[in-house]
Structures are given as C-alpha cells and as structure tokens.
Symmetry: C2
Subunit: 321 residues, 2 copies
C-alpha cells in the first residue's frame, strides 16, 4: 500500500506538497497538483486514517455509551446521534455497557486515549464517573447530571406525575409501579416522582404492587401472573411499552378487563403502544439524540459555554386507562 512518501517520490515533490493537495490547501501550482493527483490515482493511494488521527490529535469520532443497542429508547437515541454524525462527517463508536460498572469505567479509556473526540452518555449507573470523564474530554449526558456535565434529558418526573394525575382523574384509588433498572438515573427519578406524588394525594400504593427489572414483553406477562395471585391495584404505571403490552396481553388472556379491572400505562410510545392502544408517554427521543450530538460537536469545536436543558413529555391518552 502506497503512502504519502511514495506519492511524493513518484511525483517528484516533497511530502509537504502532497499533504497540501490532500487537504486542499492553497499554494500548490496547477501543474504539480495535477501530477500528484495522477500519481495518487495510479497507485490507488489512500491516506492512513490512524496516521491522520495521531498527527492531528483528533479522530472525528464520537462515542456513545448505552446499556444495549436493542432497547427502544437507545436505538432511537442512536439514530438521532447517527444522523448528526453523518451530516457533520463524524463517525459513531458504540459502547455497550450492559449496565456493567467495569465497562462503564473502561469506556473512559476511549476518551482518555484519544480514540474518540467526545462522549455521549445514554445512561450510566455510576454518575460519579462523570466527574473524572469531564476532565478527560467533552461529555454530554442524556440523563439528568447537569450538576456535573451538560445534560439534555426528559422530564421523567413530570411524565410520572402526568400519568398518576391521569389515572387518578379516571377514578383509581390504588396504584402500582413497574420499573426497569431501578438504579439508573431514570429509574431513580421516576421512583422519586412517584413517591412524591403519593405524599400529596389520596392515591394508595403498597409494596406488593411494586416491581422492577422488567424489560420485555415476556417480563410483563410474568408480572401479570404474579399480580393475579394478589388483589389488583386500580391502575399500574409501567416504565416501558413492551412490558405494559405483555401485562395487558396476559391479563386479557386471564379474563381481566383493561381498563375496567385495571388501568395500565406505558412509556415511550413505540409501535406496540399504538397497536394495543396503550396510554403512554411520548418523547422525541430521536430529537434528543440529535441535540446531544450537536451540543457535543459544537462544544468540542468552540469551547463555548454549554447549557443543559429539559425536554417536555406528552401524554398520549388511549384505551388502557
């Protein structure tokens, strides 16, 4: 594989001149430029990306930290980030943590060792790591860590409040809660908003109506089975549409009517929520991804003050409440 020196030699010029042509700098005579381009074509020359990265000290690559790419929230986020990367000629490096603290910590290495120019945090279970990360390179979070790093995130607390208010208006007296990862930032915020709401309302909650680490349709079905062994609450707030769908599916199979016997709400408004007419929360996740990527890229470039911001959810009222 030819390198820049080969080109220079064959074209009878110096490496500098070749480099100028490569980067579209001025001050290269028409004739030499032509010769150089000819030689490059003839030798099928292609500059070595790693050499460029090393010498420029940047890679035009940004990393994204997510638990799993398969999760509906995260793949929408990735899609938005990916769009911006493409528009701005950047590359997307995906780091799957599977919620593993060691992997989260290891991800910092990419930033430190200059393999990525910046990092977008999709979710992190150890926010204290951000403290170190920000000293290593630009970081933007898609959860609320605005006291540490610039953050763009949804108002999950408000979303929970909207859902609770809604089911209460529809007459619920008792309510359950089903979360995904209770230790994630989102999980904590949701839990807190839930507890907070109950304090100022007559709505009742009991520990038997609480579940977490539910991620899939099947988890929802299983949970329905468990709930059937006890008294059902009037409503249940579920942190994920697929889980809500599983719950509804199993309940209906068992002859429980939704929403008459139990009202169910989901989260994210994925296709399944539309198909089953699930009352849920819609959030412009792809847009969040875009904003985060734009924030990171502009920030990395011009070092301007970077702000955090809170995006508002919308309540989609359908047939399950």
């Amino acid at each position: 594989m030819a390198n820049i020196s080969d080109i220079a030699k064959q074209a009878g010029v110096s490496k500098s001149t070749v480099s100028r042509v490569l980067n579209g700098h001025k001050h290269v005579s028409k004739e030499k430029r032509r010769i150089i381009l000819d030689v490059m074509e003839r030798l099928e020359y292609s500059p070595n990306g790693n050499a460029i990265n090393l010498s420029r000290g940047k890679t035009n690559t940004i990393g994204v930290l997510v638990p799993r790419v398969g999760h509906p929230f995260f793949h929408q986020l990735l899609e938005g980030i990916g769009q911006v990367c493409m528009e701005r000629n950047h590359t997307l490096l995906v780091i799957q943590t599977e919620h593993d603290p060691a992997k989260e910590e290891a991800s910092m290495q990419y930033l430190r060792d200059k393999r990525i120019d910046g990092l977008i945090i999709g979710a992190i279970s150890q926010p204290q790591l951000l403290e170190t990360m920000r000293t290593v390179g630009p970081v933007v979070a898609c959860e609320d860590h605005q006291d540490i790093v610039p953050s763009l995130f949804f108002n999950h607390g408000k979303a929970i409040t909207m859902l609770l208010q809604h089911v209460e208006e529809r007459g619920a007296k008792t309510v359950g809660l089903c979360l995904g990862n209770p230790d994630s930032g989102v999980g904590r915020v949701r839990r807190e908003a839930f507890d907070q709401y109950l304090k100022t309302s007559t709505l009742c909650h009991g520990i038997q109506w609480y579940a977490d680490r539910c991620y899939s349709f099947e988890d929802g079905q299983a949970l329905a089975g468990q709930l059937l062994t006890i008294d059902l609450p009037d409503a249940i707030i579920v942190g994920n549409d697929e889980v809500a769908a599983g719950l509804i599916d199993q309940f209906r199979k068992d002859g429980i009517r939704v929403p008459e016997d139990i009202a169910i709400t989901g989260f994210d408004d994925v296709p399944i929520a539309r198909a089953l007419e699930i009352t849920t929360i819609r959030q412009p996740v792809v847009m969040l991804g875009r904003l985060a990527a734009e924030q990171l890229l502009s920030d990395a470039l011009n070092q301007s003050e970077s702000a955090s911001s809170l995006l508002e959810p919308s309540l989609m009222i359908r047939q399950t409440t």
Copy 2:
C-alpha cells in the same frame, strides 16, 4: 498529557522498557517494573490509542454497515455483533447508510484507511461494491452474497414458501404481498420466492394486491385503507411485523375480521407480533450477528478459509391465519 518518553525519562529507563511493562512482556526486572508503574500512576499516564493503532497497523475495531440502527432487524443484529465485540475486546463502529449508494461507497474508506480491521455488511444495495471491498480488507455479509464474500444469511425464500404453503393449507385462494425495500437483496429474494411459488400452485395473485416500501405501523394502516377500496385477497404476506400490525389494526377498526376475511402474516417475530398474535417468521437475528462477528474476527486473525452458511427460519403459527 504525559507520553511514553516522559515516563521513560522520569523512571530512568528507555521507552522500550516502558513499552514492555505496558504490554506485559517478560524480561523486565521487578524493581524497574515497580518504578515504572509508580511513575505512570503519578503522571496519570494513559497510552495514546492512535499511536498504538498506527504502529500496530490494526485498531481492534470492526465496522458494521446498516441502513438504520432503528430498524428491528438491524438493531438485533448490532446487539449480537456488539456482544461478540465485547467478549473479544473489540470496538464497534456503526455506519448508517440510509440506503444511500454514496454512503455505502464511502464506508469502504474506513477499511481502506485502516480505521477498522474488518467490515460486516448488514445490508447493501450495490453488491458490486463488495468486489472492491474484499480486496481492501476482510468482509462478511449478512445477506446472500456468497459468490463474492463469505455470507451468513437467512433462507428468506424458504420463509416465504412456508408462509404461502401455510395460508394455502388454511384455504386461501388469492394472496397479496407487501414488501419493504424491493431493491434490497432480501426484497429481491422474497419477491422471487413468491413468484416462484405461485407458478406451481393454484394460488392467485394480482398486481392490485402488491405493495412495497412499507416500513412502519402507519404504513400498514395506510395500506389497509387502500386495500379496502378494492376486493381483498384471502391472505396477505407482509414482510415486517409492524406493518402487519398496522394492517390488522386498521382492518379491525373498519370491521374486517382477521383471519376470517383476510389472513395476515408478518415477519421477524418482534414483541408486537406476540402481542397481536400474528402468525410470523422467527429468525435468530442476534445469533446471526454473533456468528458474523465471530466469522470476521477469526477470519481476520488466522486467514482460515471462511465459509458461508444459510440459517433456517421457523414459522410461528398464531391467530391471524
């Protein structure tokens, strides 16, 4: 930021020795190793990834070419690939093409310029590009391009045949077809298998029952609206569960009974198919991703002969046929 020379100087040794410690090579005295480690810690040294990549000539990164990360098939694929990357200490670079030929072509650059060690093709609309790609670096495809590059893929033709056989057995006389991207490899294979089956059966198809470029739940709803203006076929084969779900949803709203008035089949067995009890095709996509990544990594490492293989689909019979 300290570099390896700084460490060497401070520790009173040569760069070579520091490098040996870094890479866990033998032949370093306990004492020097200790001193070096101390200095590294004190200066918060971290090796520069780009320098390592450059000097080693490899990056431990593999690229994946997909139209969009958001598509259910591709994010499952990414998940499988991601798992293997993690296990083998590799990194995942995602390249979204949005089916754009120019972007597909540009992706080759990563391989050529050594930013990735190998490339997994999720889908490509210009298979002829593979011809060049394989000369540039290791490539594995997840579609049928086995005449050009090692390929791991599903037997989409057989899946279509199974579905047609199934609806025919259930009494269908006329059948429709709804595809996604008709120009993709998968689209072509499906179309071909469909046409082929009809030739040897009494099942009827008419152009009014054909549609393509349907990707979402909403596309399915819209298609249902169109079909309602003409005579319905007895069954329709849909290339995507979400579209099938949209179709079912709209039909039911319009008082059309599924499967009595029209049988509907999906593809992929995503959660929505389980929720709506859609007869569909299940394929182990995550496993496909894993296999592809393993193939690529072992191939890149030991240059062994790499084989192509065909994975079998399974028919999930539910309530919509």
